[in-house]
């Protein structure tokens, strides 16, 4: 005892030095969040966060040192003057079927893939953006680069929608949307290889199971990097979110009609050994108010937290606790023998959906329905990105509430048209007011222009996806409990953006065999006609002398 305390005393300055040094070193933390949804599904969110500083900034010697950060990710960003970058892939998310306005992670984009970020200005900023998109597209095994060499499909006026998280002067925002992207194992493999735990230990080992992860209903993968500056440390955050299919349906196979589940049941693994370099490794369970009888064994630490406009109970387990390693956590609802689906699931306060009402194959109308179930008016920007071949009829835009036209609710419209037939984009930002307890409908008629043959997708007749529309709420407040004692205030949320689904527009690929048929048929007719004509005009009718084979020429009856 004495000896150990003496040792502690002697080594104290060294420990202190180590700890103080640690402040500037890289730090890694990971968490796994479970959120049972009211309809029997469960949302699962893996988050990995590394804070890092660049030795390049602190020392005069040009050097690159990486301990927990992946050089393959950071080096292309460093060389290309990136200040912030977000990559997000989402597939299978359908907001109309879930009770939440979006994914648990607020930075996930709408459907498909998206790369967006802020680059420090330089004379060749466009080329640098091109280099970043191609480098990270190669890293993530997903074609993130532009379709066009001139970068016509890059959007540059979304800086207001995705503001900087950390203020850096003289920067430009870029966004490149790939609504056709989806997720598969080849995207998970590079994601895991970027993590310091490589999918081998800690929470990431639960994620490194493509067979299980990709059987979920929806997946979303993403990374967000804030590059270090002289004043701030850098941060890179990776997330993977999925929605488990109905738990009760799975339980039914074992004659269990409840929603009971456990970690091992959903992830086919017991709680893993903690990753030794992780500063924190936490399992979180989010309980809605309605789920008050949701229980867990062993018990975790309960606390109240304000999440997405609601006060919720969060139960936390520290996975670095050795007692949990190799064990399982059971979850059940007290007194539930048979799970009954709720008759109605309360919708999120703001919902948005987009459809196309087609009159003809060549024209259509986007019908965007935004409903506000709150008792107060909301102010928002609705943004769209269209490819060059979608031509909107701006003068015919209508905003309706119920059946009444309400042009007064449209405060502002920013329209940045494309330049057909070059590959380019049209961007639209509508600043709107959404009245309390009502449903606003925005109608935008459009025509589809004729695509170049090479611009058609190689899978004929499938159509082409349009990026998700984005509703950016302008009146959100920080995510802390509101001052009044209410347990619910939809304005107090970190969710600033709500996405519509992506949209598949029917673009028939011209069938060139039909023109060929016509050309071939008409050519045949012409050939037959002119052939006959020529024959009639140049042929002479008369008797021909034919030899009888003996060398004599038999005179045919010429004079007959």
């Amino acid at each position: 005892m004495l000896l150990s305390s003496l040792r502690l005393l002697l080594l104290a300055p060294i420990y202190a030095a180590a700890v103080s040094q640690h402040d500037h070193e890289d730090a890694f933390s990971e968490s796994l969040t479970l959120h049972p949804l009211p309809d029997g599904r469960t949302s699962v969110l893996f988050q990995f966060e590394t804070t890092f500083s660049s030795p390049r900034l602190s020392s005069s010697i040009p050097q690159s040192h990486h301990s927990l950060t992946p050089p393959s990710l950071l080096l292309p960003l460093e060389t290309n003057n990136v200040s912030e970058l977000t990559i997000s892939f989402t597939s299978g998310w359908d907001s109309t079927r879930f009770s939440s306005a979006g994914l648990m992670n607020y930075d996930s984009s709408g459907g498909g893939g998206e790369i967006r970020g802020w680059l420090r200005d330089s004379h060749d900023v466009q080329d640098r953006w091109n280099a970043v998109t191609n480098a990270l597209g190669g890293l993530f095994c997903a074609g993130l680069g532009g379709k066009d060499k001139d970068q016509g499909d890059v959007v540059r006026d979304f800086g207001g929608i995705y503001p900087q998280k950390r203020r850096v002067e003289n920067t430009t925002h870029f966004l490149l949307s790939h609504p056709e992207s989806h997720l598969c194992t080849e995207n998970l493999t590079p994601f895991l290889s970027l993590l310091p735990s490589k999918g081998l230990s800690g929470i990431s080992s639960l994620l490194a199971q493509p067979g299980i992860i990709f059987s979920w209903e929806s997946q979303s993968e993403g990374i967000e990097i804030l590059m270090p500056s002289t004043t701030h440390q850098g941060r890179w955050r990776g997330w993977w979110e999925g929605v488990l299919p109905l738990v009760p349906e799975n339980n039914k196979r074992g004659n269990d009609k409840t929603r009971n589940f456990s970690i091992e049941q959903i992830l086919r693994k017991k709680l893993p050994k903690p990753f030794p370099e992780a500063q924190s490794s936490v399992l979180r369970l989010i309980k809605d108010l309605a789920d008050d009888n949701l229980r867990a064994q062993p018990n975790g630490e309960e606390k109240k937290e304000w999440i997405d406009g609601k006060s919720r109970t969060v139960v936390e387990w520290d996975l670095s606790n050795a007692e949990l390693t190799g064990n399982d956590i059971q979850f059940w609802w007290d007194g539930e023998n048979v799970y009954h689906y709720p008759r109605n699931i309360p919708p999120p306060p703001i919902t948005i959906s987009r459809t196309v009402v087609d009159k003809l194959a060549s024209d259509g109308t986007f019908q965007i329905t935004i409903s506000n179930s709150d008792d107060f008016e909301r102010r928002a920007i609705y943004s769209e990105i269209w490819p060059w071949w979608v031509k909107g009829w701006m003068s015919e835009i209508e905003l309706l509430v119920g059946d009444r036209k309400r042009p007064d609710l449209l405060e502002n419209l920013s329209y940045n048209p494309s330049t057909p037939p070059r590959i380019s984009t049209t961007t639209l930002h509508f600043t709107l007011l959404i009245p309390a307890n009502s449903k606003a409908t925005l109608k935008i008629p459009f025509s589809k222009l004729t695509l170049k043959y090479t611009e058609h997708r190689p899978d004929a007749e499938r159509g082409i996806e349009l990026s998700s529309g984005i509703l950016t709420l302008l009146d959100t407040l920080p995510e802390t409990a509101s001052e009044n004692e209410n347990s619910k205030d939809s304005r107090n949320t970190g969710r600033k953006r709500i996405y519509t689904n992506r949209l598949l527009l029917d673009i028939p690929t011209p069938d060139f065999s039909m023109p060929y048929n016509v050309i071939i048929m008409s050519s045949t007719v012409m050939a037959v006609f002119f052939g006959l004509m020529q024959g009639a005009l140049t042929r002479k009718w008369g008797w021909v002398e034919v030899s009888n084979g003996k060398g004599e020429i038999v005179q045919e009856k010429k004079d007959q």
Partner: protein
């Protein structure tokens, strides 16, 4: 006394050829040591381009063919960085796949080809004739990442595997374009001109596949295809749960053979071609070795399906001097490798270099990897030389003593 002088001169004269001989012998021994003794030919690295050119769920077998080749190459030691995998559709995460994130090439579903980790370099709409020809010829936009480039050189053995739907002298890509046998032949000729391969194995599994390699005219190509002109290539079998055919016949039998091989196998391409059985495959596979200077019995299967670790030893005189005038003028080199030119006085290098130079720390010195070897061989050579002198002196002295005794 005069005799002793004569001996000395003689021994000195003898030592010179001995030194030279030992040096040459050492060089050959070293190159023997580092070269892959089981391999044939002079390649130092392997590359593979695996192309599945058809999309849609019902072409599952083409994805499975390609992925089975990918798994086999990885099993035989070729790293992911040297395999360019082009998959024109994603059957693994297709909504119709009852077994998400998996692809199987047999009906029992024993081995998942998609596995826990995979790197697909070109996928979906990226797989086009243009990207394939650019990949072969190396004509890319500068921003294209390394993972999407075939970074082969004049000592690379390149294996190209293609599968999809094809016909007489063409292979269909996606659902809207074709690559013709002439295009591929011209691209390969460009590869040869640009010294992008040492030896090339072209394998294709499609209908009328043998016509696809009939237009090659570049040297050192061995090619093989699944079926001759006018013949179809058939799938091997279905899996009732997946619901579609899982693999093509030709690829199935190739893989069945390759499964028997290990990394150190000494099987030759002749044995590989020997397993072709037109009755089993249901088509007549073709082999073309006329462009290759080496007959198939002298090429190992692992020359293409595997990764050699052979090191090329260049003679000392082929090295560029670090102090050559071209390099001295190259400021970029100086800036990127400040420690590489210690002792060289250059006013324009940074202060750090100056500090390093003054400290005279030898650990900062940049030694070329081959320099150590040549020093070693010199020392060994001179040791042998000294030994030779000693031996002759000893013999000479002994004889003198004999003379004295006499």
């Amino acid at each position: 006394m005069t005799l002793r002088h004569l001996y000395l001169i003689l021994t000195a004269l003898l030592a010179i050829p001995l030194c030279i001989a030992s040096n040459a012998q050492l060089d050959s021994q070293l190159s023997d040591l580092f070269s892959n003794s089981t391999g044939t030919g002079r390649h130092t690295n392997n590359w593979a381009v695996l192309v599945c050119s058809s999309r849609y769920w019902f072409n599952y077998r083409h994805m499975a063919n390609t992925l089975a080749m990918y798994r086999t190459l990885k099993r035989l030691g070729l790293p992911d960085s040297n395999i360019i995998l082009m998959l024109s559709d994603d059957v693994a995460c297709n909504a119709r796949n009852a077994f998400p994130a998996t692809v199987y090439a047999n009906k029992g579903r024993q081995m998942d080809l998609y596995g826990e980790g995979i790197e697909v370099d070109y996928r979906g709409y990226e797989v086009t004739v243009e990207s394939f020809l650019r990949l072969l010829t190396g004509r890319h936009d500068p921003s294209i990442p390394r993972s999407k480039r075939l970074l082969s050189d004049a000592s690379s053995n390149v294996f190209i595997y293609m599968t999809g739907h094809g016909g007489n002298e063409f292979l269909k890509f996606q659902d809207n374009e074709e690559v013709s046998a002439y295009d591929v032949a011209d691209a390969v000729e460009q590869m040869w001109e640009k010294r992008r391969y040492n030896r090339l194995l072209f394998t294709i599994d499609t209908c009328q596949a043998n016509t696809m390699y009939s237009k090659f005219y570049s040297p050192e190509i061995t090619s093989t295809g699944s079926s001759s002109l006018g013949e179809n290539s058939y799938s091997h079998h279905n899996d009732m749960d997946i619901g579609v055919a899982v693999i093509d016949s030709f690829t199935h039998y190739i893989l069945q053979y390759l499964e028997t091989l290990g990394k150190a196998s000494t099987a030759t391409m002749k044995e590989f071609f020997g397993i072709y059985d037109p009755i089993k495959i249901q088509s007549h596979p073709g082999i073309s070795t006329s462009l290759s200077t080496v007959p198939p019995e002298e090429i190992l299967v692992t020359d293409f399906f595997g990764a050699v670790a052979r090191v090329e030893i260049s003679p000392k005189e082929d090295e560029l001097s670090p102090l050559s005038s071209d390099l001295r003028g190259n400021m970029w080199e100086l800036a990127t490798k400040p420690t590489s030119r210690i002792g060289q006085v250059d006013v324009q290098t940074s202060d750090i270099e100056g500090v390093l130079r003054e400290s005279g720390d030898p650990s900062h010195g940049w030694n070329k990897p081959l320099e150590g070897r040549s020093n070693l061989s010199n020392i060994l050579g001179s040791l042998v030389g000294i030994g030779g002198i000693g031996l002759i002196l000893y013999v000479g002295a002994a004889r003198q003593e004999k003379v004295k005794e006499a």
